[in-house]
Symmetry: C2
Subunit: 465 residues, 2 copies
């Protein structure tokens, strides 16, 4: 057993105490009452980084919540990784569904229960402790490290793009590692190769200038709800394929190898359908359900409304109807082009008797895709295989993680997701918890990852600080 | 000038005072606070009928608001008409949009402003005053009269079907006249030949057992809003024709003569579109706009909802979507059959991945159609032509008037709509008013109508009281 391993073993109780202390800070970034606690969490992280032996530890302001930065530069010719995490948490409502108060951590069955335990305090503390265990036992790190911890991830990181752009020299690195996320199952490691982008819009249809009596005008005047149904129905065929002209223009088909990777992901259809309360999946039959939800773009109506929604009947011919849509984007799809294609489709397919308009909601983002053979991935895969005794699966996830796109845009680097949360840990829900088994495993994994990256050092270019 | 005309002239100021007194009673049948005032209005009507010289004047209870009955039977071998009206009113909200308090009548420019002035106190008082002017000057009426005034029309007459069924002998008549309604324009009389029926339902689509993240599941799981749009779009073609199998089964094409009657109705498309804030009408191109809104059935979505309706974006794949539908029915369409046809269509056109169900809302009613050459219509047309110096147009209206169907079902009689409200009199809205010109005209018209009915007496069968 190596020194750093013995250190981690001996210190484990203290590390758990550290985590408990960290979890007691109610650093909810979306609640004005808790803004001071977000600052307190930043201060706690700063102190912990200093104790761990990091250098240049500093709290840097943004328009809202501060960022904590630290680094350890061993040798400018070695690879430099930027490790990312966040110390803010989701809110706690509904409070009455918690078995214990969300900011009074409880340890039970080798799990710690508290808001932020898995997302992301437990996960982000692990690399700090890993670095400490190396510095305290070997006196140095095998490669260069920078830490970037933010306090606004749970509100969508609104100030992070500007922050990263402003500090791009300070944050310069060969690639990033995100300690926010997780693994597929307790015995199945994963590596994330891609995320879908997103764009959002609202469609508004307007008919007569006020609601009309459906007896007096029904049959004579266009009904905006009918027109909206017609419009939405015209956007998708019965197989789930989007029928908006140009929608698939910049979508690339995956290679056989990539599809083979997706096929390796353990996916229990029966269990998944049972969880969802569904009898069958739906969508493009030429793709598997997992493919449809990850490497295929979507056009999804998130909400619809118009006319009377109360009890009973109101014989109204409504004057308006509305729908909200988000598209998940893949490959080279550009959010602005997709919005334009939809806008054109709306103009072309609006039935007579109503006026249509669209409202673009938010900025949108392109898909994020990382090369399969990126040395950061290769090194991570080797470590995960050693720890789990199982080859990691490579997945494309259907959602969006802002940090990956932000770092790619402003620092021109990819992000390896290297974290150990599990999907049943109630993140964003009552009774969030983190497995202490995962906490220990992640400390070890980070040490092994850093050491393995040193072995792959030749594949990275020098940043020349 | 005949005696009864002189009487009406001399008494006109008193009649207007009567109307003002009647309008001061806040008899809003839908407001629990006003239930006593509905009773007070019934008492006022009873007293006024007695003063007018009617017999058997009585207040009869229903489950909610009372009915006032009166009669004058001259000779069982003469025709008997049942004159209908209602003494309850709509509520008054929004109160701040009224120029004067709704139950403090104001007379201005030969109009009386108050809630209920046109709908229906002014209109229902006229036949009472007409009967009084005949009884006080000629000592008798030319035919037999019964009065049925209700106090719950504005809440949909829920107890009237049972009441009419229970009192069908008391109410027996050759046909009915409704003093609730109006004329087309100040210089254009109309007679109503038909009303559309109605049936109502709600469609509920259910997908996964809870809302899902559109990033994680979008593309894999059916979206109930998409499925609902598909379903609603499948019910109507782009020309506005309903594509539900069996929907038109019991619809009869109108005769050339009937369509020619509709074509005579003055209908200013340009003015109507301007009022509606529309650029064009919509619907079955082989029918005129007026035909589509009166003698053609409709399937109209009155409301739709599902998913996120707030500000901005929520990336939700909703678990439910809902729509409310009412159909306007014509000719022999049976509301139950139409609901069944739609239910079948829903079952057949529900996309995979969602469960659909329908909820029937209310009892529904068939269309009401009265023969063009009914002697009640013929006699009314002659009187209207004498008064307006213009042939009345015959219209089929797109809405539903419960009393017509109730009397047809339980008394087996048709109802001639003979009233003098005009469409600009703000009924159901702030600043309702009634033209005193119409008030005087209607008193005269009712006398002439009763006298003319006596001339047509031979066309009616004896009821043999």
């Amino acid at each position: 057993m190596e020194e750093w391993q013995i250190y981690q073993l001996e210190k484990q109780e203290e590390f758990v105490d550290d985590l408990v202390e960290f979890l007691k800070i109610p650093s909810m970034s979306g609640q004005a009452d808790s803004f001071k606690d977000v600052e307190a969490a930043a201060q706690w992280v700063k102190d912990r980084l200093i104790r761990a032996g990091l250098e240049h530890v500093s709290i840097l302001p943004t328009a809202q919540h501060p960022v904590v930065f630290a680094q350890y530069i061993k040798d400018p010719s070695l690879p430099t990784v930027l490790i990312y995490g966040h110390f803010d948490t989701q809110p706690v409502d509904p409070l009455d569904l918690w078995d214990s108060p969300p900011f009074e951590p409880v340890i039970k069955n080798d799990r710690v229960y508290a808001r932020g335990a898995s997302d992301d305090k437990g996960n982000m503390l692990a690399p700090i402790l890993a670095v400490e265990s190396l510095l305290k036992t070997e006196g140095e790190l095998p490669i260069n490290i920078k830490f970037l911890f933010e306090g606004q991830e749970e509100i969508g990181s609104p100030d992070l793009p500007d922050f990263v752009a402003a500090y791009k020299d300070l944050l310069a690195c060969n690639f990033a590692i995100s300690a926010d996320g997780g693994q597929y199952e307790e015995d199945q490691p994963l590596l994330l190769l891609g995320l879908r982008g997103i764009c959002a819009l609202q469609i508004d249809l307007e008919g007569a200038k006020s609601d009309l009596h459906s007896g007096h005008y029904g049959g004579m005047v266009q009904n905006p709800i009918h027109a909206l149904s017609h419009l939405l129905a015209s956007m998708r065929d019965d197989n789930g394929k989007i029928t908006v002209d140009g929608f698939y223009d910049d979508v690339k088909e995956l290679t056989k190898d990539e599809r083979a990777e997706i096929a390796k992901v353990p996916f229990d259809s029966y269990k998944e359908l049972l969880n969802l309360g569904l009898e069958e999946f739906f969508g493009e039959s030429e793709y598997s359900p997992l493919e449809r939800a990850s490497i295929r773009p979507t056009l999804e109506v998130n909400g619809i409304w118009g006319g009377f929604q109360g009890e009973g009947t109101k014989t109204v011919l409504p004057s308006e109807a509305h729908a909200k849509i988000t598209c998940r984007l893949v490959a080279e799809q550009n959010p602005d082009h997709v919005i334009e294609a939809i806008a054109k489709h709306v103009r072309k397919n609006t039935l007579p008797g109503v006026r249509s308009s669209i409202k673009i909601l938010g900025k949108g983002s392109s898909a994020y895709n990382m090369p399969f053979d990126h040395p950061g991935n290769v090194a991570a895969a080797e470590v995960l295989k050693d720890i789990y005794l199982k080859t990691p699966v490579h997945i494309w996830a259907g959602g969006s993680i802002p940090i990956c796109s932000i770092l790619l845009e402003h620092l021109k680097v990819y992000t390896v997701n290297f974290a150990f949360g599990l999907s049943d840990e109630n993140i964003h829900a009552p009774n969030e918890f983190f497995r202490l088994e995962s906490f220990r495993k992640s400390q070890k994994a980070y040490v092994l990852y850093l050491k393995n990256l040193a072995k792959h050092a030749g594949k990275f270019s020098s940043l020349g600080f």
